[in-house]
């Protein structure tokens, strides 16, 4: 039997108002069956300052509730100011940090840290190098198929592996802000229009099909990844941590559903039905896990969760 699985909550990727975010984390601290919580602005450095005043009290409350708190760095670091935020995190010896750019991993070398999903870890060679550098948990890129997860699961040694099992898939990063562009604004004078879309701005094809979601400089999937049905297999492969990306739904309830399945308490089909009822933002997908289009949903009957 694999060690106890951890349910984790990735950083909020969207520009939620700071107070909303604070209250969200308070509720997670008080109510959610979540083991690890990642905090911090990953997408756009212009947003970083809003939530910073709340970080100490939020981290404290989460820690008091027995949750491991990890501070996530920016994913795309292009200037000195952005680099400085990473340096500040890396310089705080008592902080646990998730590096979302290789520069973060370099600064954290020699002490335990987490490698975030925006660092490209596709194979055992890369995993070994990063673990040698001090990574004790590696969050894998969302596009890895089960075959790769299996190999990495065997190669990870003492390091934990984390896989995203719920939420929109983070597909791309850019220097350009598409939220601003969509509103005919320049990035420098963006008026923080991204705040209007708590799950990203819907992007449809010309024929009206949901396709992508824009979150400032980030592009995500329209569909929400759900690997509820794949959880058992993932555990068998040696994946120990399961990431839920925050969306504007009842995340405490979402966490409860995943925890119920992880514990083997709840019936899978029932849990899936409850999740579907709870999350009406967009359809689910699991294609990347099955080595197909990320947007695909491989139906339950076409694969066996144990196989």
């Amino acid at each position: 039997m694999s060690p106890a699985a951890k349910l984790t909550l990735g950083p909020v990727l969207y520009n939620w108002p700071a107070e909303v975010k604070r209250d969200f984390y308070f509720r997670i601290a008080d109510e959610a069956a979540i083991d690890v919580v990642y905090l911090g602005e990953v997408v756009c450095s212009k947003r970083s300052s809003f939530f910073e005043p709340y970080v100490p009290e939020v981290s404290e409350r989460l820690a008091r509730a027995g949750k491991e708190v990890v501070h996530s760095t920016l994913a795309l670091i292009m200037n000195e100011r952005e680099m400085e935020t990473v340096r500040a995190l890396a310089a705080a010896p008592d902080m646990r940090v998730e590096a979302n750019d290789i520069s973060g991993a370099a600064l954290l070398a020699g002490r335990p840290h987490v490698i975030g999903p925006f660092v490209n870890v596709y194979n055992e060679g890369t995993l070994e190098v990063l673990v040698r550098g001090g990574a004790d948990r590696v969050v894998l890129p969302c596009e890895l198929p089960v075959g790769s997860l299996e190999v990495l699961g065997r190669a990870a040694g003492n390091a934990e592996l984390e896989v995203q099992v719920f939420g929109r898939l983070p597909l791309a990063l850019s220097a350009r802000c598409y939220h601003a562009r969509a509103h005919d604004l320049h990035k420098d004078g963006c008026r923080y229009v991204c705040e209007e879309d708590p799950d990203g701005m819907a992007l449809e094809t010309l024929e009206g099909d949901g396709f992508l979601a824009v979150n400032g400089t980030q592009t995500l999937s329209h569909t929400l990844c759900s690997l509820l049905r794949e959880l058992e297999k993932l555990r068998d492969l040696g994946i120990g941590c399961f990431r839920l990306w925050p969306q504007s739904v009842d995340m405490v309830a979402v966490a409860g559903i995943f925890q119920g399945v992880l514990d083997g308490r709840d019936d899978l089909a029932e849990a899936e039905a409850r999740l579907r009822e709870l999350v009406d933002i967009a359809p689910f997908s699991n294609g990347f896990y099955h080595g197909r289009e990320g947007a695909d949903l491989v139906a339950a009957e076409t694969f066996s969760p144990a196989g």
Partner: protein, 330 residues
């Protein structure tokens, strides 16, 4: 002002293109093997081992160097093809390897310490700390900068790093940070990072519907063109989508990068080499674009104004942009 000419690094997808690039004045030709180990894994393109050997001979006889791109990310559990690509390129005498995968950089450093290692744009190293890491950990001697930086940022970067920089000067343009984009995999199941293809032809369809042409990638409509409008590839990020009720090119118009107008600034910013995109393009493109940039680079080195290149016909959507090099692009 005058100075050392920028090194002109030119693409080749076939031996014919390689000869065209060498003959047109390339300082360096970069290329890849005919498989998933490089980021232009297109059907009918790229080099066999004997073709690389012949290409190396042709280039070296004419004072031109060859860089081999092994710039996708090795598949978990199957590093063989990537290791062989590195081994063969090094053993055949490639002048540098262009790598992105940390595991592969580590392999190349251990097995072929004498072969120069360049960091591919696919590694998306956009800051001095990241670049210093690749230099210290894997002995990388040059970094190809991601197309996200302005000229000012490049200048600032160059004084802080111990390695040479190479920047894109012309051709197709990623609007996303390279190596950190899975949009195409989301729509097609074929991944730029793992399979070396973006918006692959195998998943492209065109349909004529009434007075408009519709282009699709996988099951998603990427664009449609009413009659009378020029068009481009159905590359996902150059597609037309609807946001907030408005249809438009949300990410980027069909356009090509042309940095020829900022060559003197790039030189002043301390850039060492200019890269032309287009390993998938034909010999005619290579010959024309390389010759034009040869003139431009030489003019810039003499301190002369860079002449207009007249490459409009080679660009996508017949439009050009200086892209991220100017801040207004963002």
């Amino acid at each position: 002002m005058s100075g050392t000419p920028l090194e002109l690094v030119c693409p080749a997808g076939t031996p014919g293109a390689l000869r065209a690039a060498v003959d047109a004045g390339a300082d360096v030709v970069y290329l890849g093997f005919r498989d998933e180990t490089n980021a232009r894994n297109f059907p009918g393109l790229n080099f066999s081992r004997p073709e690389l050997r012949d290409g190396l001979a042709y280039a070296h006889e004419r004072g031109c160097r060859i860089y081999v791109a092994v710039n996708t990310f090795a598949a978990a559990g199957n590093p063989g093809p990537w290791h062989r690509a590195v081994d063969d390129a090094a053993e055949l005498g490639a002048d540098a390897l262009i790598l992105a995968d940390i595991g592969l950089l580590d392999y190349a450093r251990r097995r072929h310490p004498e072969t120069r290692r360049h960091l591919s744009v696919q590694a998306s190293a956009s800051n001095p700390t990241a670049i210093a890491y690749y230099h210290e950990a894997f002995g990388v001697q040059r970094v190809v900068l991601p197309r996200v930086l302005t000229v000012t940022e490049i200048a600032r970067l160059n004084v802080q790093i111990p390695v040479e920089t190479e920047v894109f000067a012309f051709g197709g343009m990623c609007v996303m940070a390279e190596g950190r984009c899975t949009l195409s995999a989301y729509a097609t199941g074929r991944s730029p990072n793992m399979n070396g293809v973006c918006s692959p032809a195998s998943h492209v369809r065109y349909e004529q519907l009434g007075g408009r042409m519709v282009s699709r990638l996988g099951r998603f409509t990427i664009n449609e063109f009413p009659d009378g409008e020029p068009a481009g590839y159905p590359t996902l990020c150059k597609g037309r989508f609807v946001a907030g009720g408005c249809a438009g090119y949300l990410f980027e118009e069909p356009t090509s990068l042309d940095a020829s107008t900022v060559l003197p600034e790039l030189m002043a910013a301390g850039v060492r080499a200019l890269k032309i995109e287009g390993r998938q393009r034909g010999r005619a493109y290579i010959a024309e674009v390389v010759a034009a940039f040869r003139r431009a680079v030489d003019a810039a080195a003499r301190g002369d104004p860079v002449p207009p290149l007249g490459l409009g016909g080679m660009t996508e959507g017949l439009r050009e942009t200086t892209g991220a090099y100017t801040k207004t692009w963002r």
